[in-house]
Symmetry: C2
Subunit: 477 residues, 2 copies
Amino acid sequence: MNGKREDYMKAMTSAHIEEIMSIVKTGRVLTDESDRFSYSFDGSFGTYLPDAVIQTKSVEELAALVKFANRERIPVYPRGQSTCLSGGPLPVKGGMVFDLSVMNDLLEISEEDLVAIVSPGVLTADIHKAAEKKGLLYPPDPNSSHVSTIGGNMAENSGGPRGLKYGVTKDYVIGLELITPEGDIIKTGGRTVKNVTGYDLTKLIVGSEGTLGIITKAVLRLLPKPPASETVMAVFDSLIDAGSAISKILSAGILPAKMELMDQASIVAVENYEPLGLPVDAAAIILLELDGHPAALKDEVKQAADLCKSVGARDIRIPQNVAEKAEVWKARKLVSPAIVRIKPTKISEDATVPRSKIPQMCARLQQIRDKYNVHLVVFGHAGDGNLHPNIICDKSDKEEMQRVEQAVAEIFTAAVELGGTLSGEHGIGTMKAPFMEMELGAIGLDMMKRIKEVWDPNNIMNPGKIFPEPGQKLELS
Amino acid sequence: MNGKREDYMKAMTSAHIEEIMSIVKTGRVLTDESDRFSYSFDGSFGTYLPDAVIQTKSVEELAALVKFANRERIPVYPRGQSTCLSGGPLPVKGGMVFDLSVMNDLLEISEEDLVAIVSPGVLTADIHKAAEKKGLLYPPDPNSSHVSTIGGNMAENSGGPRGLKYGVTKDYVIGLELITPEGDIIKTGGRTVKNVTGYDLTKLIVGSEGTLGIITKAVLRLLPKPPASETVMAVFDSLIDAGSAISKILSAGILPAKMELMDQASIVAVENYEPLGLPVDAAAIILLELDGHPAALKDEVKQAADLCKSVGARDIRIPQNVAEKAEVWKARKLVSPAIVRIKPTKISEDATVPRSKIPQMCARLQQIRDKYNVHLVVFGHAGDGNLHPNIICDKSDKEEMQRVEQAVAEIFTAAVELGGTLSGEHGIGTMKAPFMEMELGAIGLDMMKRIKEVWDPNNIMNPGKIFPEPGQKLELS
């Protein structure tokens, strides 16, 4: 598993390139170093140059390339827009990158079946728009949706703020067309929400980070769009009180579409980046979006505001129109760009804990910040326990990066000790692979590895991801 | 795969029974034929006598038994209350049945984490009650929930009327404790809704019909209970109009909790069984349950009623109190017991089609009924395309059963041809196994089989289910 570079062909030969060219009749094969460089990184850490990049809209050509790659033991990496935060599309063992962002022709909405049929290269935001035009909703909304592809979202099982009420990408994928690691084209699931015909390969593949095959088409379940939504911002002088407000609201029978937390460091960062009138002296704010029938919303907004006040919110803001609402949500959207102003490198984690453990996790994060003297910012999807502890650092500072390494390892340990998980929505990729056994145990991890090995006997499909190599450790410095 | 009887130990020896007795220290081992007979059938077709039945609450004892069974090649069958309609718990190759209905001690609700932690033998209805006491909802509601176990529901990925709005069992299982086919105890998932740490073994196991291991504990996601619900019954003179009403309502942005269809044959059967004042001259009725905020419901009920009228409903009934609502839903609950009054044998199918294909599927079912002259009753979860065509027959009548066999095969073909699936919520089991390749293709089926083989190399875990044996055909006569 995850064999070394020498388990694969040493380097691609000109004969290989010729064979690739002969297979790719309708697309492009990029081999210039300058072209290949654009495919050597993603939204995470590290750069790895592929030997060739393939752009084609033809499923048959891709399948033929995979058959060839399997025969010649050439690694293959499916790739969308590479906004991935865990290294999913990085060509860590060399070989071919398949640029699936070009496969973006199909975006069909069936109002009758309440499904969308999509190509993997379609931007997720375009699915949102197409569904909304017909009064429908595709709920998963990773913050990157305006630039990320649905194929990438499926590979990593992306979440987003609406995960609390609506679940994640996997909950909406009901059918797939897939190229297997041996180059066969299969279909899984279909257009029906209920389907128990054999093993659920659809949900196995979604979230498998491109290690079990290449998704070339998908059927997504849609919902009727809720007729209205309201936003509430609550300001707290204590992070613990903010945590209590979250619990109170959920146990009062209110299920907000979004329930986001920003700590003081993220509030200050955003306000410095773009003044929005946020309370920079507050310990935390929570942002709620409630959706549904207008009459129901009126009640729920009042109830949520009262509950926040009852646990110590010092201020409640309820934006009154679309522009005011957009302004509030802009604050949350700006956290990521704002914090990288502080230092150039952002290590973005998404360790997730049961929601009752959020106050304890916040305390552990503060200890870790102080112990390793790192710049730690905490924000994220508090309602579902999916925090985003981000460490802002400078990758050229070796000493600092060693402290960051230790801090990151301790964040993972804290999440697992609190009954949580290494990754809520970003994926394991390369960086978190060394921690898999800590969460899953040796046998749990082995049961996953068995599936990988029997589906991809030559380990050509996105090697180096999810499964740790012997002795692999987290390395940022 | 699914080797013949001779691939396993010929018959269990007294030495085997002694070893089993030495492992099971806290439970019971049943070997008397009269005891074993009670474990030879389920809610489907056929009887198969196991060699021994084990009842123990100890996970460690069960794991030790599986290790022993794996060493000695003795088949193992996990079993709940055996309400299964597809043969899931049938001991078709002899060996040991594990009666997990005795493992029913754990039913813990965490309001803060919005989860339930349960043993596999807990009745699903008891989970409903425990959640409701705390203002929460466990949505999956198979009609058998008062007698079926959550373990069986997970094995078969049971659905139920609320599938339309809330999804099926799989959508609510987020963590498992599992005994693997080699007798190891592993954990999958956890208490967080978001979790992308490696492959999603939880959703692979739920719905795998007990072929990949034995579930010994589960974490279920709960929702806040909707504050109110309303019921609407609409009466139609044409099945096609009823189908149109279903489409209209869904595309108007209303997502009912339940949307059930009863055809004339099922209306008449229920009315003969217990007079409820149903319109026996109607071609079809649809039953809606809407849930949510009372103010929203008031609007939606009116809108749904108007939409039904606009496509030709001749009568709308809106029950005004709890007792009247219960009476309406009783009609739907009574379909199953009512139709077996007609003839003793019920072949209950759950072929599912994309919801836009419901009118076409209804037409195909009528053709099949006439062609083979069988007593076919159609009812079910129309909102999600999950119809329940039931054939009422007499298994002692060989000639009739041959016609039934052909009719069933043609129902499966019709569903797959219309872009649907063999089974929406009952599972494949033994009866539908011969049709798997028709839906999945040879390679699609092989990719499933690879997982089974690598997880269960000796094929001891519920053999004879899901995967067809060479040359296997549907046999009812």
